[in-house]
Symmetry: C2
Subunit: 207 residues, 2 copies
């Protein structure tokens, strides 16, 4: 790798470390340059603005997420096995990253801040929900899940459980967090299965 490319990578890596502690807005070019022992003008040679660096850092973590969570699942058998693989990879990702999944944290940091960073984040999160919904749809095609399953709703529920797991385990330090996540995941799978006795919606039974 060329020296310039390597420096650029080091800047992005350090920016992500800072972001995982204080958010992406807490990244400052001056502090980064100091941390890395390079001049501020040396850093500017790579990134013309804070936003350009933030965008590249965010894109790099989105790429890593796709590599670690999505891509390995695509070679797994269609239907429930692929969905389980997505779930396990996502759980490993959340557990493996210090401070939990930065993409989830950033979702809260940027939900109120319009701009290109928020746009990239929204695109990546929509892509992720679409991956989950598509995997659920394949499970209906394979006959694993019932044909009338609302696959977008399924994706929302699965993502919610993983977000709740991060909150339970990282903020509250709940030792039962993983057990609760797995219990809820199995409940979701069960209620989605073709053989499940559960009705499609609970409303009919509402008291």
């Amino acid at each position: 790798m060329l020296k310039g490319e390597q420096t650029r990578k080091e800047i992005v890596t350090r920016a992500l470390e800072v972001a995982s502690e204080v958010g992406l807005e807490g990244v400052t070019l001056g502090a980064l340059a100091q941390d890395l022992g390079i001049s501020k003008s040396g850093l500017f040679a790579h990134f013309k603005s804070k936003e350009a660096l933030q965008l590249e850092a965010l894109q790099s973590i989105v790429d890593r997420f796709v590599e670690a969570v999505v891509r390995p699942s695509l070679t797994r058998p269609r239907g429930e096995p692929r969905l389980r693989s997505l779930f396990e990879n996502d759980l490993r990702w959340i557990k493996g990253v210090r401070g939990g999944c930065l993409l989830i944290s950033l979702s809260y940091e940027y939900d109120d801040r319009p701009g290109p960073i928020r746009d990239l984040l929204v695109r990546s999160q929509r892509d992720w929900l679409a991956v989950l919904a598509r995997a659920a749809r394949i499970a209906t095609e394979e006959g694993h899940f019932r044909a009338d399953l609302d696959c977008e709703q399924f994706a929302y529920q699965l993502q919610s459980l993983c977000m709740g797991y991060q909150y339970n385990s990282k903020l509250l330090g709940d030792r039962k967090a993983e057990e609760q996540l797995r219990g809820a995941f199995e409940q979701l799978m069960l209620s989605s299965r073709a053989s499940s006795a559960s009705p499609r919606r609970g409303r009919a039974a509402r008291s």
Copy 2:
């Protein structure tokens, strides 16, 4: 109200407005004093440090949450009606606050930052999960929910759905967010009911 008390309240209110946009760490005494048109030493007369102000601001939002979401539910009939009331109040709270529930956002801002702010946040979130679990336990006592329901697991699932709703509606701007939340909530209620046909855990049926 005395002039001093009023100023103190105005400082806290403004700090919460700032926090809802840039997080609680983004609150600075200098900028607050300028916003409110008071001197920095005037502000220091009320709060000796940034942390003291952050703690009071956080406590005030926790108090408001209890007043708006928890307290009105306690006079509702025990069991499912009280749980539904907690859910509806929480949903109204998330929808009503600009940028969504600050307590949820702060959970991500502080999950990696030890200190008194994180401690207060953790306490408040544990209290909230305990309120939900206790309401579910009462529902089992009343015979609305099945006796072997894992009430902590129920609380985690309900909280996860609400966090996912905030993410769906505020970040992704999904117009189906509320419908999905309500659908998932009814599914959770149904699977918790005494009359439900669902088995306790999905593991037995795991493929």
